[in-house]
Amino acid sequence: MGATVRPEDVVNYRPVARMIEAAGDVPSMPARGAMSNLPQIAKTQIAKFPEVTALVVTDDAGSLLESSGDIDGEALGAVHVVMTQALTRCGNALGLGPLQRLTVTGPRRACLIAIYEQEVLGVYVDPSKPIGMFEKKLDTALRR
């Protein structure tokens, strides 16, 4: 009795620790997978993957940094940022920690959106290809 148990010391209480973090009582964890030049990597490496049909990189305010493929990068980039903001709030409420990436799949499109520090990468891939494989490939390209 009397010993102080910090929530982050108890693995099973991790979601609770995250909820406390979200409330501002515990300093936030540092962001994973720091990237220095995402637009450059996107343009020179990711855009050349055969599955990729289009990609867009924006900053966290939705400003376009890089775009390739037949898409409206400016509009899509803004939508990606709004989407990630909403899901970040969702993760904070649930104590799940920072949003790292999300995938959206459907019959006509598959999209992967990843967050790196202050930048948001949205990649559109061929929906007939397994997106799980592509996620691993992307992780490798980004050296996570």
Binding site: G62, S63, R101, L102
Partner: protein
């Protein structure tokens, strides 16, 4: 009843909660770990609907959304209820880091089909469900800090006008450059209109202008003559009266 179906998802290792949310962010049914009480789930439902509203702007026929967080995952599955009055629900699953997504995938498919049967048969909304509003405009407000939208106020007019996610539109809006203009003057008009709207709602302005053009013109190309109708349509979608006045002033000379 929907709850037993959600309970079957809870039995998958790593799943901490499951709920069904309707388009207005009401929690229709839920089964979750006690740390996720109804208040938390309602807050989550609102964020989920905001994100889905955005998803539908780029992919209105989306089926699955998987969000990976540092310590867990949230999976959303679209449930489209057919019939005389089509409706859209979202099945949301909250999971910790131990979840095997492939295992859940099977359970999710089974649960989704059972839920659709129940929802199509008109299962009443759970007594504990709560109507929440705000949606995309809330997320836009928090993202840009420019539009003041309270959690308690009704869904903004932009949503009511079906500019984005109502589900009745066909085709994905912003995924391709599908706004056709009749001449250069019309294009200039749309650019100026977008710039004026951006002062009120931020980077989503272009999306709403495109949706507005689609609403006003249908399949025909946009012409300068459609300008007043478009401006009126966009102005009606700005809930904050100051922002609306700002937009109207900025576009008066167009």
């Amino acid at each position: 009843m929907l709850e037993p179906i959600l309970q079957s998802l809870r039995e998958v290792e790593g799943v901490q909660g499951a709920m069904v949310v309707d388009h207005s962010a009401s929690v229709v049914a839920h089964r979750a770990h006690t740390i996720y009480d109804l208040t938390v789930l309602q807050q989550v439902a609102r964020s989920i609907v905001s994100s889905v509203d955005s998803v539908q702007l780029i992919q209105d026929d989306w089926e699955m959304l998987t969000a990976h967080f540092g310590d867990g995952k949230v999976l959303l599955r679209s449930l489209r209820v057919a019939g005389a009055k089509p409706r859209r629900y979202i099945l949301a699953v909250i999971a910790d880091a131990t979840l095997n997504v492939a295992f859940l995938g099977v359970a999710l498919r089974v649960a989704a089909s059972k839920l659709l049967v129940e929802l199509e048969s008109g299962t009443p909304v759970a007594a504990g469900s709560t109507s929440l509003t705000g949606s995309l405009a809330s997320s836009m407000a928090s993202g840009t800090g420019r539009v003041a939208v309270s959690d308690q106020i009704p869904r903004p007019e932009v949503a009511k006008a079906g500019l984005s996610w109502s589900g009745s539109t066909t085709g994905s809006g912003v995924g391709s450059s599908d706004v056709v203009v009749i001449d250069g003057a019309s294009s200039t008009f749309l650019s100026a209109c977008t710039k004026a709207l951006a002062a009120s709602i931020g980077p989503m302005a272009k999306v709403f202008v495109k949706e507005g053009v689609r609403k006003v013109c249908g399949d025909r190309p946009f012409s300068r003559a459609d300008g007043p109708a478009l401006l009126a349509h966009l102005a009606a979608g700005i809930e904050d009266s100051d922002d609306r006045a700002l937009f109207q002033r900025a576009t008066r000379g167009l």
